[in-house]
């Protein structure tokens, strides 16, 4: 059959509509090569492929997010009735001492954890990419066994936060933990890390957060540093720049975009240190805002818990904006 012949004979209207419901393989040729059918087939395919993913996404992700905004303004306690109460939940939060206690802890983590983690991450990444012995004709060289270091540093990233929290709960244990056991060997009686003293508990949580994420940033930053062309380092070396100068004047500015993204990401992680605190801490030692939210939810204060969630979202948005503004530098193309 030639193409002209097919085009000359428009398909039967009935056959055409039947073809909408048929899979292409059973559709007659005369219909299949019709232009209108092709458009229709395309949209049928698009709708078919998007329907289930979009439905799942809309019902279980988008709609809860939108409902959250509404429920934060109600006194909902899980039943069918939710009375609109305006900003009562937020006023209650303002006057709730427990909210301020947990949020102070969360904010402390938000400020300290990213700085410590990123500094360690950049330091180790630079050691790995540039700390090696100079080889002939190379301005910069990595240390031996760099991939081995990266593999080990990355370990915590592949483990569940719940498991990390259980492990560290044992490590910090007062009587039979790794840390106090080690202190015992040198004759120091270790304190009760998770036993209720706020400062020690904070140090413990910070340690765990940093421990979990340093490896991630070492991999991320050493990939970014590896992307810097070697001739820039050669030029710096020829100009007589030392290691320190090279780092602060060449490496850091060139990976700054990655650092800033990592900073935002790490801040959001620190704000959401839910599992670590919930699993590792006895509840009286310290709380963070997500744990406070979860406890209100378990008590059935659904409206109040949702309002706390909204505040958490606002905190992370404000943090991201501040970091993006503070860390704004001219982008360097290379």
């Amino acid at each position: 059959m030639s193409i002209e012949k097919r085009a000359a004979k428009p398909p039967n209207r009935l056959l055409f509509f039947a073809a909408i419901l048929l899979p292409p393989r059973f559709t007659p040729m005369s219909v299949r090569y019709d232009r209108r059918y092709r458009t229709l087939d395309k949209y049928r395919f698009i709708a078919g492929f998007l329907a289930i993913p979009l439905a799942f996404y809309a019902i279980f992700v988008i709609s809860p997010f939108i409902q959250a905004i509404y429920y934060s303004l109600t006194d909902w306690s899980g039943g069918p009735i939710a009375n609109f109460v305006g900003f009562d939940n937020f006023v209650k939060m303002w006057n709730d001492e427990r909210f301020w206690d947990s949020t102070t802890t969360s904010l402390t983590l938000l400020v300290i954890a990213p700085v410590v983690t990123l500094v360690l991450g950049i330091f180790f990444a630079y050691m790995i990419t540039a700390g090696g012995r100079h080889r002939k004709g190379q301005a910069i060289s990595g240390v031996a066994g760099s991939s081995l270091y990266k593999v080990v540093y990355f370990f915590p990233q592949v483990l569940s936060v719940a498991i990390i929290a259980v492990v560290w709960g044992r490590v910090f244990n007062t009587n039979a933990g790794l840390i106090n056991g080690g202190l015992d060997l040198v004759g120091i009686k270790g304190p009760a890390w998770l036993g209720g003293e706020y400062g020690l508990a904070l140090i413990a949580v910070l340690t765990v957060i940093c421990w979990s994420f340093v490896g991630f940033y070492v991999v991320l930053f050493s990939a970014a540093m590896g992307g810097i062309p070697k001739d820039i380092y050669e030029a710096a070396l020829l100009d007589g720049a030392g290691r320190g100068t090279t780092f602060f004047k060449v490496t850091l500015p060139l990976i700054w975009d990655t650092v800033r993204t990592g900073w935002v990401y790490m801040g959001i992680q620190a704000l959401d240190s839910f599992a670590i605190v919930l699993v590792m801490m006895p509840s009286h030692a310290m709380k963070v805002t997500p744990v406070f939210l979860y406890e209100r939810f378990r008590e059935g204060q659904f409206g109040y818990a949702t309002a706390i969630g909204v505040v958490l979202l606002l905190l992370s948005v404000v943090f991201s904006l501040v970091v993006m503004r503070l860390g704004n530098r001219d982008r360097i193309e290379y």
Binding site: P64, V158, V161, N180, L238, L313
Partner: protein
Amino acid sequence: MSTSTSTRTESRQSKTDQVKVQESGGALNVFSHAFLILWTLMAAGPLIWVAVTAFRTSSDILNDPMGLPSSLHWANFANAWNQAHIGQYALNSLIILAGSLTGTMLLGSMAAYVIARFTFPGNKFVFLLFAGGMMFPVILALVPLFAVMENFQLLDTRPGLIIAYIAYSLPFTTFFLTSFFRTLPTGVQEAAMVDGASHTRTFFQIMLPMAKPGLVSIGIFNFLGQWNQYLLPLLLNNENESSYVLPQGLATLAIAQGYRGDWGALFAGLTIAMVPVLVVYAVFQRQVQAGLTAGALK
């Protein structure tokens, strides 16, 4: 331009430089190795401690936490597997993961393919909808999600948990795969269509195999994310202890064993949970590192 003179001075200068740098390089090399090894001990230390201590009896551990096992006390592993139900939890995790990972990859790649390769009204909107979902923390949706699941009678059921995993993995999966499908050549797709393959067939037999590198990266990302998930099961799968997934079961066990003082079983349980993941990671380290850092680099 006197090229010859400039090269000569340059070479002389670089020679003196090299001598100087080599000296400082040696010192720095030792210094950097010292720090790197220190952190290696920090990173692996707690994990090694848990794995070694898993072979000791509970009373030994409580007497001397730093000691080495006097004999291999395998009973801890049997206790963990049977009495502490680690075996059951691992099986639950596997069943959930089988459903959720398949679903995520299938639905994510379908949506991504359509968004990347077809022009239709609302294309951009759908893309932004998925991309926007990445920015919201799950904890914000916690309470309403619980209610939605309850309405659909999906609370404390396996399908419910699987659907939740899929739904919350879709934004990043779709976002990542959309940009991946965009990089594939258009010619192959057109050729398949000219040869009479349907859209569906083109997708499954031509485009999916071509997208394999992207699928592997995002597959590893989702595998680890879903296997390690703690918040969603805690919220949606909290009623019945026999249906707990692995991280959930271990967290519960940690509290229970803390009271009973049976540390041996807990350490064995942790080891059982950690070792397979670490082994898989050690084998596929390059892909895993690429997969997990892909999100931050995009």
